[in-house]
Subunit: 211 residues, 2 copies
């Protein structure tokens, strides 16, 4: 049976898992989660994941949440994308953690506030505050990519597939590829990998499909 | 030569690494970083860590940042605290990632805004917004600890040492042990471990030492 991934198209965290499963060559199928109607907050969903978040991977008796844990599982299963050496594996983990703390967390939150909340409900001070922090994170990422093809070693790894996730969405959240040349070229490189697809194509069933 | 940990007492992220090194029985020494005078933003420090953050571990030619990566390194080196099985190791990683995304990141930021920023500079809307998110994270943690001694398996792991870190500080940031009985008992259990010490005792040199 194929791996199931509980996810939805707007979730960059889900996209990190979806893209990793695909590029590892793992057979998987999306299970649409109705986030915008509070499915992740339901008791039923909390039984699957006490953290109340997407993505969740299910394969037989294995139930695993947290995009970075799913990514690491896929790399361990296939020997792909986890880095070539133990030193590279440590670097990969370092970027996964940074991404969760400073990059995707902020990008995801900012994109939510600016696109999926009614305009009159948007907390303007929070948006300004997050904008500054997101700018700093993008600066760190762009600096790390100067003169490099990918974040760790010479090949694409989980680190790239984590940090890039929210940057492929078109909805505005304060990121413009033109402002960050090293990030811009790196995103082209990732989008050129065999099997790459846009999050909304990889994880169908969202309101965005009907837009 | 002992492992060096670039850190400062107020940093719960540093404390996760410091506590893990100690409980793994690794010989280490703190190197004080003057965060409050912008040392982590200096060019010199960015050479050590492109992410511009504490903690950073240095052991010979190994330079490693991100508390969760340092914790994982210490567990790999010593065979301690990483979980008893590969399934437990996956659960440990899952909680490390959750902590970085939802727990320590918020607790650290909220504690900074409420204690280390001048009162007139505090962004009240951000503080209210973060308070709601921190409450949700504490709810998730408390629920996960219901009827359990530790987060993963039967023994203390890196997961506990990550999620607990900011909860040992006395400065107010919206967390009261009395409100969360399962967390309260779990913190007592961690503080009772041989080698446990408070962050300000483990990482001296901060303004807090002179208070």
């Amino acid at each position: 049976m194929a791996v199931q991934l509980y996810c939805f198209g707007e979730s960059g965290h889900s996209y990190k898992a979806a893209l990793t499963l695909t590029l590892c060559g793992i057979d998987w199928a999306p299970v649409f989660v109705d986030f915008f109607n509070s499915e992740t907050r339901s008791k039923e969903f909390r039984k699957l994941n006490v953290m109340g978040e997407c993505p969740v991977l299910v394969e037989g008796s294995l139930v695993l949440s947290q995009s970075g844990a799913i990514q690491t599982w896929a790399a361990d299963e296939t020997g792909k994308l986890g880095g070539q050496t133990s030193a590279q594996a440590r670097e990969v983990l370092r970027w996964l953690l940074w991404d969760n703390h400073k990059m995707s967390s902020l990008a995801g939150s900012q994109r939510f506030l600016l696109n999926f909340l009614h305009e009159e409900k948007r907390p303007q001070e929070v948006i300004r505050w997050q904008a500054g922090r997101l700018e700093a994170a993008l600066g760190t990422l762009d600096a790390a990519l100067q003169g490099r093809e990918f974040l760790v070693g010479r090949d694409v790894t989980l680190a790239d597939l984590a940090c890039c996730s929210y940057l492929f969405y078109e909805e505005p959240f304060g990121f413009s590829r033109a402002d960050w040349p090293a990030i811009d070229r790196w995103l082209d490189r990732i989008a050129g990998l065999r099997g790459w697809a846009h999050p909304y194509d990889m994880m169908p069933g969202s309101p965005a499909d009907r837009a």
